[in-house]
Symmetry: C2
Subunit: 249 residues, 2 copies
C-alpha cells in the first residue's frame, strides 16, 4: 500500500464543488471514479480544499492509497488520459503514508478576479466578477492591509461554518490591477467557509466608495458577526495553490 499525492487543477464552472454529493457531479467523484477504473481497486481521494460549487483551482491537492505498481510520478499522465478536459492532474508523487492534506500546517493562496468595465466582454464572464462602477484601487489596497496578520475572522465567514477557532493568519493580501482586470491575491494559514469571497466583497464596498478602508479594521476588531460586504459569486474565485510547511518536497 502506498499513498499518492496529486496536484489538481480544474475549471469549476460545470461542477458542484469538490465534495461528493448524492446526485451531483463533483471533482472528488470524477477523481474517485476514474482512479477506480484506472487502478482496478476502489479508490477514495482525500482533498485538501473542499472548494465550493463553481470555484476554480490551479493547485488543489488530494491524496489516495493504492496497491498499484504504477510509479507515483506516472499516475498524473495515466489519469489525465481519462479525465475530462476541465480537470487536469498537474503532478503526482508518492508521499509518506501519514501525509494528510488537511491536518498539517499550510499556506494557501487564493485569487478573486474582478472585471471592472462596462459590460462588454463575454470572454471574461466565467472567471471574473463583473463590476461596472469604476473601483478605487488605491483604497482597496489600503483596506486590504488591515487583513494582514492574525485576526479573529468570525465576521468573514458564513454562519454554517463549524470550527473550533475563527483565528487565521493572513500573510499577504495584494490588489493587482492590469487595465480592466483587478485581482485580490491573498495568502493565509487557512480560510474559513466563504472567507475569501466575503473578504473580496468587503474590499469591493470600499472600492465602490460605499465604505472607507478603516471599516475593515472596525469589522475585525469587533470580533463579532457584524455586517460585511456581500459574498461574491464563486466564478471569480480560484485556489492558486497550497504549500505544505513541514513537508519536504
Amino acid at each position: 500500500m502506498k499513498r499518492i499525492k496529486l496536484e489538481v487543477a480544474y475549471d469549476g464552472t460545470n461542477y458542484c464543488g469538490w465534495q461528493i454529493q448524492p446526485k451531483d457531479i463533483t471533482i472528488e467523484k470524477v477523481l474517485n471514479d476514474n482512479l477506480t477504473q484506472l487502478l482496478g481497486e476502489e479508490i477514495k481521494v482525500i482533498g485538501a480544499s473542499r472548494t465550493d460549487s463553481g470555484v476554480h483551482a490551479l493547485g488543489n491537492v488530494a491524496v489516495f492509497d493504492t496497491e498499484s505498481r504504477i510509479p507515483g510520478e506516472r499516475m498524473a499522465q495515466a489519469l489525465n488520459a481519462r479525465l475530462p478536459e476541465d480537470i487536469i492532474i498537474q503532478s503526482s508523487r508518492e508521499v509518506p503514508p501519514d501525509f494528510h492534506p488537511r491536518f498539517q500546517d499550510t499556506r494557501k493562496t487564493y485569487e478573486y478576479k474582478f472585471y471592472n468595465a462596462p459590460y462588454d466582454n463575454p470572454i471574461t464572464r466565467r472567471y471574473h466578477h463583473f463590476v461596472y462602477v469604476p473601483l478605487d484601487v488605491e483604497k482597496m489596497k489600503e483596506a486590504a492591509r488591515y487583513f494582514l496578520g492574525e485576526h479573529c475572522f468570525i465576521s468573514m465567514c458564513s454562519s454554517r461554518a463549524q470550527v473550533t477557532s475563527y483565528v487565521r493568519e493572513i500573510y499577504s493580501c495584494d490588489i493587482i490591477q492590469q487595465g480592466r482586470y483587478i485581482t485580490m491575491r491573498v495568502t493565509g494559514s487557512g480560510f474559513l467557509y466563504n472567507m475569501v469571497r466575503l473578504m473580496a466583497g468587503t474590499l469591493l464596498e470600499v472600492g465602490r466608495g460605499k465604505k472607507e478602508p478603516e471599516w475593515v479594521k472596525e469589522i475585525l476588531e469587533s470580533e463579532e458577526r457584524v455586517a460585511v460586504g456581500p459574498k461574491l459569486p464563486a466564478k471569480g474565485l480560484t485556489l492558486i495553490g497550497i504549500q505544505y510547511e513541514n513537508f519536504e518536497e
Copy 2:
C-alpha cells in the same frame, strides 16, 4: 426605415460561427431571432466578419434595418436583456442607410493566443491554444515582421476561399509575451479565409524552431499555394475590432 449598427462581442465556444446554417446555432441566427421578437418585425442582420465556428469576438459589427421607434443607442440595452450571456451588444447607433459593414475600407484586428507551458491549466483552454514546447518569442517577432506591408497571401488561406484578389495589407503584427501567455496581435486591411489561423500556425513553426524566420519571406514571395504552418484551432482566435476608415463616428 432606419439602419442600426451594432458592436457585438461573443464567446464563440458554443456557436457554429456567425453565419446562419440550416440546423446549427449561430450568432447571426440568435441576433435575428431576438431582434425579430424585440421589434415585432422580421429582422435580418448583416455581419462584418462571418467568423468561423468557435472563434470569439470582442468587436464584430452588424447592421440591420428597422421601422422601430426605439432610438438607435437604446437598442443595445433592450437586446442585451434578451440575449444569452455569451453574446453582448457593446453599443448600438443609427448609421446612414448606405452604410454596409463589409463593402467599405476597414482595418480589422485579430488576436491569436497561445498558452506556452506544461499542460497544467484548464482555465485557459477555452481561449488559448496550448503549446508544450518552449517557444522562441524573439524568432516569432522576427518572422512576424515579414508579414508587414502589402503581399499576396494566397499561401495563407484555405483553398475554399473564393476571392478576386489575394492581396492584403498588414499594418502591424506584434508578438506579445506575458509570462506563459503569448499573443499574436495583427491588424490589416482584411483577411482571407483562415488567414489569421494559418499565419499563427506559421509563426508557431518558427517559434518551435522547426523553421527559420526567413521562411515566412520565402512563402510570401512565392505567391503560390506552398506549404505553410498548420491551421491552428479556432478557440485561440478573437476578432478584437473593426475600424471603418471613411466613416465618421
